[in-house]
């Protein structure tokens, strides 16, 4: 029976990636070009593009969950401020975390690799959605702060890349720096995956012995001032916030 389930999930996962790819191609070559032809207003374009991306990601999540390739448990969504303005900081164990998170937070801002903006299929979607490109290190921090100050919610993975299983959590200081500069309200999202797939250094076709179980816990928002001693300069504040965040996530995930 276990063997049968494994075989089912192997075939299912392969079919899922084909479906994922086809929808991606359809969005990249039909849906988003149409959007760029018919919607000219930058603001409306951004909102529509993000809605479409989120809808596609929700579809992927729904297909993967309803065919039991993965399971997802989400708690704490009541902590999300629908008006925005929150700095959403999430842990990042797998390749599909962002798909799940964007399905949960449709209009959120995020930072993407510069290479993605130039990708022939994905480029148009992220350009229309007006996500932040990571090209210029100095501008990147400024853009993140500006977006938050203008009232948008911003999603960052403070690890900067996928965390490696079994190693202690270490965050890059960028997220803490953005939090300090924007005096942000931080929404911590502890995302973990049992029976993990799509980890760093693991190819997509190597599936685990049982279906991956994602657990997403949205924690109550924290004002950044509450993570520092208050009388410190920006540089020290950054370290204090970073240390506080690592302890917070360690406690939640252990």
């Amino acid at each position: 029976m276990k063997y049968l389930n494994f075989a089912y999930r192997w075939v299912g996962t392969t079919l899922f990636w084909i479906f994922f790819g086809l929808i991606g191609l359809f969005m990249g070559f039909v849906v988003f070009p149409l959007l760029s032809v018919f919607v000219w207003d930058g603001r409306k374009r951004q909102v529509a593009a993000r809605k479409l991306i989120s809808a596609a990601f929700s579809l992927f999540v729904w297909v993967a969950c309803s065919s039991r390739l993965i399971s997802i448990r989400v708690t704490g969504m009541e902590h999300v401020d629908p008006r925005g303005g929150q700095l959403i900081l999430a842990t990042h164990p797998t390749l599909i975390d962002v798909v799940i998170l964007i399905s949960l937070f449709p209009q959120v801002d995020c930072v993407i690799k510069e290479a993605v903006t130039k990708n022939p299929v994905l480029g148009i979607s992220v350009r229309l959605a007006n996500y932040i490109s990571n090209r210029e290190p100095a501008d990147l921090l400024d853009s993140c702060v500006q977006r938050l100050e203008s009232g948008a919610s911003l999603l960052l993975f403070p690890s900067g890349t996928r965390e490696v299983n079994g190693q202690p959590l270490r965050f890059k200081l960028g997220a803490a720096e953005v939090a300090v500069r924007a005096r942000a309200s931080i929404l911590p999202v502890a995302l973990s995956c049992k029976s993990q797939m799509l980890a760093k250094h693991v190819p997509w076709y190597r599936i685990p012995p049982s279906a991956p179980r994602f657990k997403i816990t949205v924690l109550p928002p924290i004002a950044v001032e509450n993570l520092t001693t208050g009388d410190v300069d920006q540089r020290h504040a950054r370290y204090q916030v970073n240390d506080a965040l690592v302890s917070l996530f360690d406690a939640e995930l252990s």
Partner: protein, 78 residues
């Protein structure tokens, strides 16, 4: 700005703002490993140097910068 003057400026920024021990600073000192400045400090340093010299280090060059000498090279070559 002359390379020597630039070196002095960088040294000054490192000591006064990033609390780096002056005796540890040399042209060959690795910013991240030996001087223990973090990537945000590095960006901060570049922004300040840009304001002082009017020269900008491109992100591609910045990625390969490891030592103070690399910073000087990047700023004087351009």
């Amino acid at each position: 700005m002359e390379s020597e003057a630039l070196y002095t400026t960088i040294k000054e920024i490192l000591v006064t703002q990033f609390e780096v021990d002056e005796s540890a600073i040399s042209r060959d000192a690795n910013l991240y490993e030996e001087l223990e400045i973090d990537s945000i400090d590095a960006v901060d340093l570049l922004v300040q140097l840009k304001e002082l010299t009017g020269k900008k280090i491109s992100p591609d060059v910045f990625k390969d910068v490891r030592t103070i000498g690399d910073v000087l090279d990047a700023l004087t070559v351009l």
